[in-house]
């Protein structure tokens, strides 16, 4: 029987290996879903009815079905629906298991971010657009220089909420057998017949979210130079 100390070391080292995947899912999802959310928000507000209704349907599916189910669909869909074998698909060091996880998370989170951004964009006063227009700014300049910076400040608290949820949601990647931290904790718990791995994993998630809160608070403070 191992000493309690070496058991704890095993837990920490194995969870750390899982943590790398957790962080990977987390950062890649943010990198893809934030810009995609912005694009989806634009589509949702499009004047073209077909576009806006299509986007609305996409958002309702993403929000109305379990993320776990969406992950399974992205992973198994290509083979079962289109007969495409994904076993050999690789992007650098990432296998399709991981890629499918990131795709599923990104599509799902983009829908949530889109609704947050839409709220922010629609809360901007018409006067800001009009002032920019008569000054001669193009639509792009108006969007990126005048509107978006103000929208970011307004949506930050809601975005922080989603980001914190995302940290915890990464544990759903276990359905695709991605060995992220939660999967690692589960395996260790059954191997060691102990709940300690779960407690340590919980601590890791909690610390990650603590860091996120501190960082987001700083950004919020930085943007408080105007009201």
């Amino acid at each position: 029987m191992d000493s309690p100390f070496s058991a704890l070391l095993t837990i920490i080292s194995q969870l750390s290996a899982g943590l790398v995947y957790t962080l990977g899912i987390f950062f890649f999802t943010l990198i893809f879903s934030l810009p995609l959310g912005l694009a989806v928000a634009r589509g949702r507000m499009a004047k073209n009815r077909i576009v806006s209704n299509l986007v609305r349907f996409y958002i309702s599916i993403m929000r109305g079905t379990p993320l776990m189910l969406q992950l399974l669909l992205v992973y198994f869909g290509p083979y079962y629906i289109f007969g495409i074998s994904t076993g050999k698909v690789k992007l650098g060091v990432f296998d399709y298991r991981f890629i499918a996880t990131v795709i599923g998370f990104s599509l799902n989170y983009a829908a949530y971010f889109a609704e947050i951004f839409r709220g922010g964009i629609q809360s901007m006063s018409k006067g800001q657009y009009e002032a920019a227009q008569v000054l001669g700014f193009t639509k792009m300049q108006t969007y990126f220089r005048i509107i978006l910076p103000q929208v970011i400040k307004r949506v930050l608290p809601s975005v922080t909420n989603e980001v914190i949820t995302l940290v915890k949601d990464t544990s759903l990647a276990q359905v695709l057998s991605v060995t992220e931290m939660f999967t690692a904790a589960k395996m260790l718990a059954s191997a060691q017949v102990s709940v300690i791995p779960f407690i340590v994993a919980g601590f890791f998630y909690y610390v990650m979210n603590g860091i996120i809160e501190v960082v987001m608070n700083r950004i919020e403070k930085k943007m408080n130079y105007y009201s």
């Binding site: 002032a131 227009q133 001669g136 700014f137 300049q141 105007y226 009201s227």
Partner: protein, 251 residues
């Protein structure tokens, strides 16, 4: 030479006719005040002239460029993008509620369009900005943000922003309506100074004595038409039309 030429413009919102054929010519150096009851079409006239609303008919030209003209078929024809861009650099607009960019400092509010629309370098833009801030009595406020300024100061910044691109004509849409009486004076003083420099201006206002003092010509609008028009002194002190008399008796 006329800077602004509006001919017979019409505009309706959801079937409600707001402008019923308005014509107005403003010469270089002239100050025209537009008065009248709310809902009489004053702001809509201004919004049509400043490209914020499209007319249903009639024609508008600014600084010799045709913004919109209406052919015999009755359909208004708007100019192309390049002309529109040129026209927008020929006028400035001061809004009732300022519409400053809250995330930009006073300096950036004034210089942003100079740098990114008019492609001036930062040094030149800063020089223009400094000059304007002195003129507005706000030289200390270049680095302040709009939220730290009083309403009167914000409105003066927005006047500076409108002046920065050296426009041929400036439109004011009730520039003091959102201000306390105390703060109104500073803004009116700035507009008076501009009038003394022969800046061409069209001012929609509810300040009758100010309109009489500063304007060369006053236009009284009600029900989507120009009811009375004439030299400022005459319209305010000796109105001819019954409707004008009735309106002015309220002041």
């Amino acid at each position: 030479m006329s800077v602004l030429e509006i001919k017979d413009i019409t505009k309706s919102f959801d079937g409600l006719s707001v402008l019923k054929g308005i014509s107005l010519t403003v010469d270089k150096g002239e100050v025209v005040a537009v008065i009248g009851p709310s809902g009489g079409g004053k702001s809509t006239l201004l919004r049509c002239a400043t490209t914020l609303e499209n007319v249903d008919g009639g024609s508008i030209s600014i600084g010799g460029d045709v913004l919109v003209s209406t052919e015999k078929s009755g359909h208004p024809h708007y100019c192309d993008k390049a002309t529109l861009q040129r026209i927008r650099s020929k006028f400035g607009l001061v809004f009732q509620n300022f519409n400053l960019f809250p995330h930009f400092s006073v300096r950036r509010n004034i210089t942003e369009a100079l740098i990114h629309v008019h492609k001036k370098d930062r040094i030149e833009a800063d020089l223009i900005c400094d000059k304007l801030l002195v003129k507005m009595g706000l030289e200390e406020k270049a680095d302040a943000y709009p939220c730290n300024l009083s309403g009167g100061q914000q409105q003066r910044v927005s006047i500076a922003r409108a002046l920065a691109t050296n426009p041929e004509i400036i439109f004011f849409d009730e520039p003091t309506s959102a201000l306390d009486p105390e703060l109104t004076q500073g803004v009116l003083k700035v507009i008076r100074e501009l009038a003394a420099e022969h800046m061409t201006m069209v001012i929609v206002t509810h300040e009758m004595s100010f309109a009489r003092d500063v304007a060369d010509r006053i236009i009284f609008m009600d029900g989507g038409v120009i009811v009375e028009e004439g030299p400022a002194e005459q319209v305010i002190n000796h109105p001819m039309n019954e409707r004008t008399k009735e309106f002015l008796s309220g002041y």
